[in-house]
Symmetry: C2
Subunit: 248 residues, 2 copies
Amino acid sequence: MSVKHCKTANTPDYVACDACKLSPICTPVNVGEHAYDFTGTMVKRRHFFKKGTFIFQQGDAASLIYAISAGTLKLLVHVKGSERVIDFRIPGELVDISSLNEGLHTYSAQALEDTYLCEIGKETLNDIASQIPQVQGRLMNVVNKELNSIQKSAMLLHGNVNSEEKIAAFILNLAWRYSLSGYSAAQFKLTMTRTDIADYLGLSKETVIRLFKKLQQAELIKIRGKQMTILDMDKLQHFVGIKLISSS
Amino acid sequence: MSVKHCKTANTPDYVACDACKLSPICTPVNVGEHAYDFTGTMVKRRHFFKKGTFIFQQGDAASLIYAISAGTLKLLVHVKGSERVIDFRIPGELVDISSLNEGLHTYSAQALEDTYLCEIGKETLNDIASQIPQVQGRLMNVVNKELNSIQKSAMLLHGNVNSEEKIAAFILNLAWRYSLSGYSAAQFKLTMTRTDIADYLGLSKETVIRLFKKLQQAELIKIRGKQMTILDMDKLQHFVGIKLISSS
DNA sequence: CGCGAGATTGAGTTCTCTCAACTTCTGTGG
DNA sequence: CCACAGAAGTTGAGAGAACTCAATCTCGCG
């Protein structure tokens, strides 16, 4: 899988389909001597959402599941009259798979930049899956991997006590996820604001800024505006105590 | 579903099978005119583990999936030479379902009290599921619900910034989960130590103790040793900003 | 009954937050 | 293309929350 680089203004940096977590569903299945490709009828490809728009809102009926083709999302819940960031999603990742057997979206999703999504109708997918065991199996695999991923992220971000560890964990989690989607783990763009990151980690934005600076002065990372470069993956991982990415 | 109460010394307080998250697998399936019950061959029921023993260790090969019949577990990861609590499991809940398509356990599981587990071989389960669509569908449902549950817990515990909110979220999360398994949401035993709770929430044990006391003085909870009683569910939920349990 | 793990309490320190001022960046309209 | 306005980012100072350390208490178990 080739490592992908920064997007240009004109051509969105679409994730490679084979690096997308929805690819098992998009790959044609062979049943007996026939090959069925459901993507034509089932998947709406690369639906455009302008920066700032909501893909769906908490409480909306959930009829589709989404995979990000290009762009990034911020997920938020409405709590006590205000909003709180609960996660981010990057290209190749799925959005709200857990709504597969639930009726309503439990959070909102907002585009952090111009974004393209692939969409599948839940109904259609479940129908086909119930009829064709191979599709069911693949869907199971997708959901299983998602479970794993969510759990791994939760472990990483949950277990780290002080702010410095939380920040390091956040950076590494993003790095790991970018690498899973075929992008560089060592260099990526933080499409969310410092305030978003702070909100997500339960810190103040000033603390986030100060710790970015501290990690930079320790030469573990380099950060210029929204551009993040990891300089010393090993030390950063040692910080967090979990090895996700093997730095050659 | 009848609400269950505290266990006695002699008879373990087994969860009702129909409240167990594994019940879809344990319920016989009808295929055509035949009914198949795999539980006899597939499920090892109520395997006993003494308090303090490990069910499995991080890095062990994962060949079984577990459901708790009676007792509670603490899940931990080994990080930087020490251990960190990442979650707890109560009767009716599953343990490490995410290992279904992975080879190794990503964390350790230790019995917090004398515990009985039901076990299913992954291989067997996957084999049967791949042959019988109905089983596959049920398994899918189990995994889906698990995904939902993990996500809901993560949302609750993640989004709450200060220590008081974290503690309230922890209490409510346990209450919610006990109610799902058919026990009282308002009264249950904290089988883990204060230190375990502190470790889990990323706080010091002194802070946990002081905040329990504070919530008690505010008459939201009553806590006597390990016995937790929720006195004002509404206020507690308002604290956290999410309504999980409807208090009549 | 005595031991030891766990729980509790107090005091002082450190970390993180809040508030406020200021700078930089970004996007929009002239 | 520049000017401007608003959003985002940065920095410093003081306040408050949570931590650490240490002493003491309690309870379950042998």
